[in-house]
Amino acid sequence: MASEGNTTDDTRRKNNKKILLRRILRQKSGLLGALLILLFLTTAAFPGLFSNYDPLEMNKKHRLEAPSAQFWFGTDEFGRDIFSRVIFGSRISLFISFFTVVLANIGGIIMGVLGGYFGGMRDNVIMRMMDVLFSFPFILLAILIIAITGPGVFNVIISLAVAYLPYSARIARGAVLAVKESQYVEAAKASGASDLRVIGKYIMPNITAPIVVYVTMSFAFALLSEAGLQFLGLGARPPIPSWGLMLNETRGIIEFAPWTGIFPGLAIALAVIGFNLFGDGLRDLLDPKMKQ
């Protein structure tokens, strides 16, 4: 920093201490986020370890029972164990979110890098296309796509990925533009490196940090919009439990059986909290401004 000389050593040390303190504190919450994500990843990978019941098994004797020692989160109108359904629900919800994020970001990065790096006409065409998609409220876009393709896990992924594409493309493009003008990229270009090499060796590694943060954050987006889509009844095929679908199924009965809606809602919130906290932590860690 150019103006460092203006500050006294004292304030600098104080500032440093503050920043360090904040970083560690932030890291703690980031760690908590990582733990939450890990928890849901584990339940998604090994749902059988956590649940005593088959999430699809209907039980005539235990319909709409409130939470108890036997059924931790209660049962739904079919007598299915909600705890097991929430656990198994993590599988489908995370699966959809994961592939949505991957697809949207791969597409976004390709478009963002192409547009941002080459600029000119290519950039114009790509970004105007993204502008068109961007001005479409994403839930309506996703609904249109799912209406065309019909219900199903993969169709949900595709519809959400397309809806998120303009966001990820903008972010990637912004990141590329920020590093494009830097000296090392200029130097590499001047030394005659091919575009592919410049992108691969100098651009990509330097945009990874900001993009990783956004990728983490876009998990939160994917989880929430997947829930929204399923909540409207447009999405996966029952009986595969997904959190949003569980909320949809509870719409008519939540008032007198609140546990049917509260727990899936909490699961969504917790998973989103996990990704948000983790993303926050990552940002602090990777944000160059915080580096001293």
Partner: protein, 314 residues
Amino acid sequence: MSTYITRRFILTVFILFSLSIIVFVSMHAIPGDIVDIMLGIEATPKSVAALKKALGLDRPIYLQYLKWFSNVLQGNLGDSLRTGRPVMGEILYRLPLTLELILYSMIISLFIATPLGIASAIKQNSWFDHILRPISIVGLSVPSFWWGILFIILISYYIPSFYSGGYVSIFKDFWGNFKAIFPPALALGIAMAAVVTRFTRSSLIEVLQEDYIVTARAKGLTEVLVVGKHGLRNSLINVLTIIGLQAGYLLSGAVLVEAVFSLPGVGRLALDAVLQRDYPMVQGSILIISFLFVMVNLVVDLLYGLLDPRIRIS
């Protein structure tokens, strides 16, 4: 500046034009059309064909589009296939609700967020800051429609007198309007409040560490003045960014919240129209929603220039 606005205008026209084609084509790609819905389970291929002809839906898509488009050029968005009423009138009738919903939720979120964010930034790492941050994370992680469901249950059970019989214009009945709009606006605004709180906080902290603020402090300006003059203005710019970015989220959230609260807004109009295959209504409502969205972004960009002379508009 004026060339900038001209360019943005051309871009807007381009966006809306492309959108109308995308929407038109995709609506016709959705299996099942309005005739199937009118006739219901007892539809037969014969009656479907006859009714399609009667409604002019048997002509090639591009002809249907051209007819629609030439009407739009004359300022006519067509008539609803379901009720036969002009699409424009329907949208204009419903638009105030959605705008009000979004405006209310922005106001709610700004009222909650700005003071909290500033306080949290100034008293960085105080107990207040430590409590606020997790709360704001929770706030932005809970889906708005879930808040909506919870609010409806709470009102229905504990304060039935607060249940609104439906939307009324603010000019007709202020209290009735408030009852109808406040709960959904709150459901929609909570997440936004959390985002703005966090953004205000972090941007203010960043600004307060900038050299010119440090200089200002060194010059002996009082803290209030420093925060007030330099800090706020810069964080306002950031908040603007958020509003621009969030407009899309808010519009999407409005679709869901309007569905949960059975509110006749333009978001639900579009959703219902898609489900009912009311083609002119889908075209019209999505066009208007997108137009609004593009306008919000334009205004945000222009305000940028006003607030921060360093950002050159070009």
